[in-house]
Amino acid sequence: MSEELNTGIPTDSEVILGILNNSESVLKRLYIAYFPMVLQLIINNNGDGDDAKDVYQEAIIILYNKVKTGDFELSSKLKTYIYSICRRLWLKRLSQMNRYGGDIKDFQEYLTVDDETEKNNERDIQFNKMGDALKLLGEPCKTIIEDFYINNRSMKEICEDFGYTNADNAKTQKYKCLQRLKKLFFQQK
């Protein structure tokens, strides 16, 4: 891929492939390409730069998850899709803050995308629950779980890091940690 292509707005299929391949550069180009559009929408409709950042990142995460789970079907331009998601998310926030005056100034054409933001809402809740549960779990359990299940490190490496004398001890520890994490996770409302 030439250098020139790497800096411009990525094509829609480039983005999808890039997400699937965890491409850092595509993600960056995608982010930079459409952020101004979303910023324009938010700051001209009672929001500020931070609101724009939150909404835009949430939209990117929705897109990301959808592509990763394989049920993404692009029925319009990616630009329109992202704009629609952000518009929907921002309307929701405005009405939550009681700042929604009944009309919104639009800068792009958009689609109705209700259920996708709803689905993402569930993911959000689980994400927050997991974050809280891990926080409550405390050290060293948190690190053990993160290392093993998220960073895919082997029990042997973890064993060495924590100075366990044998792998069995470490395994027992990890087992206990996982049980506690489950408890904490499901206890939350």
Binding site: Y31, L39, I43, Q57, I61, M130, G131, L134, Y149, I150
Partner: protein
């Protein structure tokens, strides 16, 4: 197999670290034992959640890193739509502007109202003539003030005309009124409700009860016809709804009200010859008949003695009957035949008054 070992097996199974044999054996176990099977799915789901959490965290970190490279402020300045000055002013301050505008309109209307701008102004001529009239009136007022300030002129004042009310006590022209109405009269005229004036003469007066009897002496007077009302001899009770007809001004005025006390009050003493009534009366009402609902005469209004706000007094009718009997026979040219029959009791108030008005007179008194 302990839970711990089972978990290890499950993890091995899920990560594909098992040998073929082990895997086959575990799958059989999984198929046979539903508990183990559900544990496998549960574990898979939960570790999936942990993984998702990690990925999301990672993604957010990446996005934040990208975001930090963007100059948001510069973009914001570039993308912010700057509405025109007026629009911005209105958006930021529209509530204040609305309040200010309504106050301004209100103030303007008030000013216009109080300065008379909203009144229809006739031309300047009208205003000027009004002014001249006012000045004339003021001069008159001044003259009067000067006169009243000079006590030696008091006797020179022309007392002018008095007016009261009277009503017929017989069909042949005897009329009763208050003594204070005709007191010091040089000449007395009575005027019927249709506007005809007749000369009358005082034939009897009783200052103690404030009753006076007039006789119409005018040649043009014909008989009045049968009296529609009778005179009540018994006392009337408090609370009875009563009314009077009189001439407080040029036209006959109905005064409805209630009998509020069985005695009168003349400033210091209770006066058993009178009723107190709650009827709006004026000086011109003096001498008018006080009638109850059955249109019996129960008294004569003598408003002049009233010193109490909102109350009037009426001489009781039995004193009137006594006064009629006391009239010296030699001053009567014709007999007085008071009526005992009441012809109006069942009529409506409007009909009653239509019949009554021919028997109620304005008493005009002239003295020099």
């Amino acid at each position: 197999m302990s839970d711990n070992q089972l978990l290890e097996q499950i993890e091995k199974y899920l990560s594909g670290e098992m040998t073929r044999d082990e895997r086959a054996r575990f799958e059989i176990l999984r198929n046979e034992n539903a508990e183990i099977n559900s544990k496998v799915t549960e574990h898979k789901h939960f570790t999936g959640l942990i993984k998702q959490y990690g990925e999301r965290l990672e993604l957010e970190k990446r996005l934040n890193a990208i975001h930090d490279e963007i100059d948001v402020h510069a973009l914001e300045d570039e993308l912010m739509i700057q509405p025109s000055f007026i629009v911005r002013l209105w958006r930021n301050h529209h509530s204040k502007i609305s309040v200010a505008a309504s106050i301004a309109i209100f103030a303007a209307l008030c000013t216009m109202f109080f300065t008379g701008y909203l009144n229809n102004r006739g031309g300047n001529y009208v205003q000027l003539s009004e002014k001249i009239n006012k000045i004339g009136a003021k001069t008159d007022q001044l003259g009067r003030t000067v006169k009243s300030l000079n006590p030696q002129h008091a006797g020179d004042l022309n007392p002018g005309n008095f007016r009261g009310t009277g009503f017929a006590i017989s069909s042949n022209g005897y009329i009763v009124t208050d003594n204070h109405v005709i007191k010091d009269a040089d000449s007395v005229y009575v005027q019927s409700s249709d506007g005809k004036s007749y000369k009358a003469k005082v034939i009897y007066s009783e200052p103690a009860t404030d009753i006076a009897v007039l006789e119409i002496t005018d040649a043009s007077f014909k008989t009045l016809g049968v009296l529609p009302y009778s005179f009540k001899k018994a006392e009337t009770d408090i609370g009875e709804s009563v009314f009077t007809l009189g001439y407080p001004r040029d036209a006959m005025v109905l005064g409805p009200g209630y009998l509020t006390a069985s005695t009168g009050f003349n400033g210091t003493n209770t006066d058993s010859t009178a009723y107190q009534v709650s009827i709006p009366v004026n000086f011109g009402n003096s001498g008018g008949p006080l009638l109850d609902n059955r249109v019996d005469i129960i008294g004569i209004i003598n408003a002049k003695q009233t010193h109490v706000e909102g109350a009037a007094f009426a001489i009781k009718s039995n004193y009137l009957l006594k006064a009629i009997q006391d009239i010296p026979v030699d001053s009567l040219k014709k007999p007085i035949n008071t009526n005992n029959k009441n012809a109006l009791a069942t009529l409506s108030r409007v009909q009653q008054i239509k019949k009554l008005q021919n028997f109620v007179f304005m008493v005009k008194v002239y003295n020099q």
